[in-house]
């Protein structure tokens, strides 16, 4: 029995994988709480997909030096968030239309860039679905830095973020810098997207960002509780996912996401406010 739990971590790459998964899922749950409360799931998914060209450029330029990929990804996510805002304002389009245009364009650009390499399919799979077993010590340090920055920012601005999420009009009559806070949140989403790149990949990042906080939402009456439950659910998904992945030979990213989904479904079944998801 002990073997079952200990054996995977006799390999250092498995220890790094666990640390990376734990870090990414905790940061995603914290930021994802605001994503869920503010109805920004599509924006989160779009930012996740739009980092692909940055990943590709970092990958093509810095063969060998892998953690440079993460910085390129972060830069691309920030640029995409800005582009979405600009397209929506300039074109007087609905925000979701602008997000969709930027998402598709960036994703296509990323695939186009990766398709110029040999071994195209293998590389693309890693970016799309993550490859947590390949996390290097340098990657892990970058992730610790990004994760720390996210936790610190939320700790400092939690009351402001709560206020703008619940009542943006009040935030403005109290003369809070609403635009700056929104941009700060986008920046944090960008950071978490980069954190999850190697854990669950571009295509499944949304799951870490939305599913555990949604589990918390179903069970909590206060945002703090929601966030705590979201983090707990995210952490448990990361750990269980890695065990399942190791013992059953399933890809790690999908294993983590499926565990998170199972926990959401359990919460849905016993939620005291299940009625909020159903039509009244």
């Amino acid at each position: 029995m002990i073997e079952f739990f200990v054996e995977p971590f006799s390999y250092t790459f498995m220890v790094r994988a666990l640390l990376a998964a734990v870090l990414a899922s905790a940061a995603c749950a914290v930021v994802g709480t605001y994503v869920v409360l503010r109805g920004m799931a599509f924006m989160g998914d779009a930012l996740a997909h739009s980092i692909l060209p940055g990943v590709a450029v970092g990958y093509l330029l810095g063969r060998g030096e892998r953690s440079i990929v993460l910085w390129w990804a972060l830069g691309t996510a920030v640029a995409s968030a800005l582009a979405m805002g600009a397209v929506a304002r300039r074109g007087r389009l609905r925000e979701d239309t602008a997000i969709g245009i930027v998402l598709a364009a960036m994703f296509a650009l990323g695939i186009a860039l990766i398709s110029t390499t040999r071994g195209y399919a293998v590389d693309l799979t890693h970016f799309l679905f993550g490859n947590v077993l390949a996390v290097s010590p340098q990657d892990l340090w970058v992730m610790v830095g990004l994760g720390g920055a996210v936790f610190l920012t939320v700790a400092v601005f939690q009351r402001e973020l709560l206020l703008v999420s619940f009542d943006p009009v009040l935030a403005r009559t109290l003369r809070l810098p609403v635009r700056t806070l929104h941009n700060l949140l986008l920046l944090m989403v960008a950071a978490t997207v980069v954190l999850s790149l190697q854990v669950v990949g571009v295509a499944l990042t949304l799951a870490l960002l939305v599913t555990p906080p949604a589990t918390g939402y179903l069970l909590a009456r206060r945002v703090r509780t929601m966030m705590a439950l979201g983090v707990a659910s995210g952490l448990l998904s990361a750990v269980l996912g890695i065990y399942i992945s190791y013992h059953a030979g399933i890809a790690t990213g999908p294993a983590i996401v499926l565990v998170a989904t199972a926990m959401f479904l359990i919460a849905l079944a016993c939620s005291p406010k299940r009625h909020t998801l159903l039509p009244r």
């Binding site: 709560l162 109290l174 003369r175 700056t180």
Partner: protein
Amino acid sequence: MRRKGPVDHVPGSPAVELLEASVNYQRTVALDRVTLHLPPEEHAAVLGPNGAGKSTLLKVIAGVVSLTSGEVRVHGQGPRGHTCIAYLPQRSAVDWSFPITVREVVAMGRMGGLPPWRRASSHDRARVEESLAQVGLSELADRHIGELSGGQEQRMFLARALAQRAQLFLMDEPLAGLDVATQRELLRLVRELPHATVIVAMHELGMAQESFAQVALLNTRVVAAGPPQQVFRPENLTEAYGKALQFVQSAEGALAVSDSCRPPEDANR
């Protein structure tokens, strides 16, 4: 994060002053050259059909919506510098399943001008409890906001404005969905607000007549403003409401009956 300190009130100036204030959203006109004055500590009701610009008017005064042309002043200054303005949202504009308690909502009123790293002081907390008590919600402070009745919802926002130490209360359709007894109770609470200037957007002509000394009829522009007896005349009402309004002759005089005043519940959720 930089915040501007609250601006000073110019003594002797009206609490609210709009001069030829217009707002255009894309191609539709929401407010058309509105000119209104309200002295400090007076209470007024703004009435008009849906889409008349009542919400827009309140948001302009709150400094949340920008004017396309014209001017708006609150206590002699532009609205954007004030932290004494409380906008109480329409019930349909609030996410009632948001995970938050009544006390937390009221405590939000204390967040103006506080740097993010400073926690709420004991003074802030005392002010929150005091405000909850003032509207009679102390017992329900730990309830989730979704568990409140319609009247309690409005009192919660009133408490938040009190915690904010607001001097100008802008209430967006606070009476919608309340029964008449609860409407009266809420308006009594509003009348008793100390040193408050109040503007209430509403649909209830009778309730406005009985509770407000000053009313304005709005239909993107001001149709009439002044004491209710002068404003609520058939020609003004017809001009504001158009065909949505019918008149019935009865022994006591003319009765105005409107059939599309109340917005469909939860229409803009």
